[in-house]
C-alpha cells in the first residue's frame, strides 16, 4: 500500500471533525473521496502531509509506504512535501504566490528539493511546463494573474508532478473552473498519472468525475466514510442512504436527447 489511514480522527479543540476514517490507496491508483462541502474531506487531505492549521489536531495513523507520517518531525515532513507527496488545491489563485513569477516559484521548489545547478533547474522547469501543454518560456516569465484559471491549474499540475512524487493529493482542483477547462485539466492529470505512475487521492464533490477517472471511491459524510468500493459498483448500487441521495441528485446529462435541442433551435430560427 502506498498510503493507508487507520482510524484517523481530527479535532478542532474538543469537537470531532473527522471521525476514525480508514482509507487505503495502492501504488498508481486513483482514489476519489466524494462528499458534500463540510464533510471533512479537505481536512483529511491536509492532514496527510501535516498541513493542518494549528488549531486542528490529528489522531490515529497515516502510513505512507509503511511509515507513520503523524510521528514524523517537522523537518522530515517538510522534505517529503512536494518531493514525495504533492498537492493541487481548489482555488487556483492561491496555488502560486501572486507577486512572484511562475518561473521563480518553480526554481524555488527545485532549490529546496534538489541540488541542481541553475541552468539545469531552469531546463527542468521548462520541460515540465511543456509537458502540461503550456508555452514554456512565456509561462516561466509570467505572473500568476497573467494566466487564466485553467493555465494556472496546468502550471500547478506541472509543479506537482515535476519531481515525480509517488502521491498527488488533488483537493477539488476543478471546482473553480468552467466545465470545459475542468475536463481538460482532469484529462491532463490522468495523463500525467499514467506517465509517472503516481497514486492520486482525488477530493471532489462531483460524482461524474468519480465515475470517469477513479479506480476506487470513498463517500464521506459528517466526517465519516460511509461507503467504499469500485465506482461503478458504488454508484450503480449505492448501499448507504447518503450515497443514494448523491447519486439521485446527479443531473441526467447523458440522457438529454440531442435532436430535441436541434429542433428547438430550428424552430427559433424560423
Amino acid at each position: 500500500m502506498l498510503l493507508s489511514m487507520n482510524g484517523l480522527s481530527i479535532y478542532h479543540k474538543k469537537r470531532c471533525i473527522v471521525d476514525k476514517v480508514s482509507l487505503a490507496l495502492a501504488y498508481g491508483e486513483w482514489h476519489a473521496v466524494a462528499g458534500e462541502s463540510g464533510s471533512g474531506k479537505s481536512v483529511t487531505a491536509l492532514s496527510i502531509a501535516g498541513l493542518l492549521p494549528n488549531e486542528l489536531s490529528a489522531e490515529g495513523s497515516i502510513f505512507y509506504e509503511g511509515i507513520d507520517l503523524l510521528t514524523f518531525s517537522h523537518k522530515k515532513m517538510r522534505l517529503l512535501r512536494g518531493k514525495k507527496i504533492s498537492y493541487i488545491f481548489q482555488d487556483y489563485q492561491g496555488s502560486f504566490t501572486p507577486f512572484m513569477t511562475i518561473g521563480s516559484q518553480f526554481d524555488e521548489m527545485l532549490c529546496t528539493h534538489t541540488d541542481l545547478p541553475k541552468k539545469a533547474r531552469q531546463t527542468k522547469a521548462l520541460l515540465s511546463l511543456e509537458e502540461v501543454g503550456l508555452p514554456p518560456e512565456r509561462t516561466f516569465c509570467s505572473y500568476p494573474f497573467q494566466l487564466s484559471g485553467g493555465q494556472v491549474q496546468r502550471a500547478a499540475i506541472a509543479m506537482a508532478t515535476m519531481l515525480q512524487p509517488k502521491l498527488i493529493i488533488a483537493d477539488e482542483p476543478t471546482t473553480a473552473l468552467d466545465s470545459i477547462t475542468a475536463t481538460a485539466v482532469l484529462q491532463l492529470l490522468k495523463k500525467r498519472q499514467s506517465e509517472t505512475g503516481c497514486g492520486v487521492l482525488f477530493i471532489t464533490h462531483d460524482l461524474r468525475t468519480v465515475k470517469k477517472y477513479s479506480d476506487t471511491v470513498s463517500v464521506m459524510q459528517y466526517g465519516r466514510i460511509v461507503e467504499t468500493g469500485r465506482p461503478h459498483h458504488v454508484l450503480a448500487k449505492p448501499k448507504h442512504e447518503y450515497t443514494k441521495q448523491l447519486v439521485s441528485a446527479l443531473p441526467p446529462l447523458c440522457n438529454v436527447p440531442v435532436r430535441l435541442g436541434r429542433e428547438a433551435l430550428k424552430e427559433g430560427l424560423k
Binding site: K83, G94, E108
Partner: protein
C-alpha cells in the same frame, strides 16, 4: 509615464490652490505683522513708520494684487524675507531642513529596528507570551504622548544619569534621544499593523501552497508572507511620512533641536508670516512628492498594478 505626468500636473494645481488659501488665511488672521516686526526691539514706534513699512511691503494693495506679486516672486524661488532674522525664507528653510531630515531618517531606522522583529515574532507566536507582551507594548506606546516620553527620557538619561545631551544638535549624541523618542512612538503603531497584516498573509492560500511544496518556513516567511504584508504597511507608512514630519515639530521644540519644525513654531509665536507661508508651501510640496513616491513603490511591490498600467499606456 503618463501617470507621473498627471500626478505632476495635479501637484502644480494643488500648490497653487494651497498657496492662495494660505495667503488668504494670513491676510484674514488677527494681529498686525508690521507692528510685530517693529516691536521686536521693544522701542516705541511712530504711526508714520508703521505706515511707511506697510507701503514698503505692499500691504496697502488689494489682496489679489498682493497675491499676484507674491506668486511672481515665488516662481523665482523668492519666498520673502523673514521678519525675525531678516534672512531670505528660502535660505532659512534650506539651512534647517537637513537637521529635520536626519532626525526623521534616524527615527525611521529605529522604528524599523523595533517594529519588524517585534511585529514578526508577535505574528509567528500568536497568543503566546511574546505576543501578549508586544501587544501590551503597542497599546501603551500608542497611548503615551510622545513629548512626555521625550521628557521622561531627558529626565532619566540626561538629568539623572548624565549620559546623553538633551538640547541642541552639535553631535551625533544629540540625535539619540529625539530619534529614540520618535522611533518608539511610531514603532507602537507599526508593531500592531505589521502583526495584523502578517497574520492575514500567513492565512492566505498561497502560503499553504508554498508549505505544501515543502519550502522552509524561513523562506515562506521572508519571501512570501512578509512581502505580501508589506503592501498595507508601506501604504500606511507613506501616508504617515507627512505626519512623521508633524511629529518632529513637537519633538524638535522639546529638544530645542534646530530643524524646520522648531523654525515654524518660533515663527508662529512671533507671527513671522513669510516663514509660516514658506513652511506651508514646502510641506505641501514635500507631502505631495512623498505620495507620488509611495504610489511608485507599490508598483514595485505589486506587479499586478505595474503590469496593468504598463499595458494601458
Amino acid at each position: 509615464m503618463k501617470m507621473i505626468a498627471n500626478r505632476l500636473l495635479e501637484l502644480v494645481l494643488f500648490l497653487l490652490v494651497l498657496s492662495f488659501i494660505s495667503f488668504a488665511f494670513m491676510k484674514l488672521a488677527p494681529g498686525d505683522p508690521v507692528r510685530y516686526m517693529l516691536n521686536i526691539d521693544d522701542v516705541a514706534v511712530s504711526e508714520e513708520r508703521i505706515e511707511e513699512l506697510r507701503e514698503e511691503l505692499g500691504f496697502n494693495e488689494p489682496i489679489i494684487v498682493q497675491y499676484g506679486l507674491w506668486l511672481v516672486r515665488f516662481f523665482q524661488f523668492d519666498l520673502g524675507i523673514s521678519y525675525m532674522t531678516q534672512q531670505p525664507v528660502t535660505q532659512e528653510l534650506a539651512e534647517k531642513l537637513p537637521a529635520t531630515l536626519i532626525l526623521t531618517f534616524c527615527s525611521v531606522v529605529i522604528m524599523t529596528l523595533i517594529s519588524v522583529p517585534v511585529g514578526s515574532l508577535s505574528a509567528l507566536y500568536k497568543n503566546k507570551m511574546i505576543d501578549q507582551v508586544s501587544r501590551l507594548f503597542a497599546l501603551i506606546g500608542a497611548s503615551v504622548p510622545s513629548f512626555w516620553l521625550g521628557l521622561l527620557l531627558i529626565q532619566w538619561f540626561s538629568v539623572k544619569l548624565g549620559w546623553l545631551p538633551s538640547m541642541g544638535s552639535d553631535s551625533i549624541l544629540h540625535l539619540i534621544l529625539p530619534s529614540v523618542t520618535l522611533g518608539v512612538a511610531m514603532a507602537a503603531v507599526y508593531v500592531r499593523l505589521l502583526r495584523s497584516s502578517l497574520l492575514e498573509s500567513l492565512n492566505q492560500d498561497f502560503v499553504i501552497s508554498a508549505k505544501a511544496r515543502g519550502l522552509s518556513s524561513f523562506r515562506i516567511f521572508w519571501f512570501h508572507a512578509l512581502r505580501h504584508s508589506m503592501v498595507p504597511v508601506i501604504t500606511i507608512f507613506g501616508v504617515s511620512l507627512g505626519s512623521l514630519l508633524g511629529g518632529t515639530v513637537i519633538i524638535e521644540v522639546l529638544f530645542s533641536y534646530p530643524g524646520i519644525g522648531k523654525l515654524v513654531v518660533d515663527a508662529i509665536v512671533r507671527r513671522d508670516y513669510p516663514v509660516i507661508q514658506g513652511y506651508i508651501l514646502f510641506m505641501g510640496l514635500f507631502v505631495a512628492v512623498i505620495n507620488i513616491l509611495v504610489d511608485l513603490s507599490y508598483r514595485y511591490l505589486d506587479p499586478e498594478i505595474r503590469l496593468k498600467e504598463g499595458g494601458s499606456t
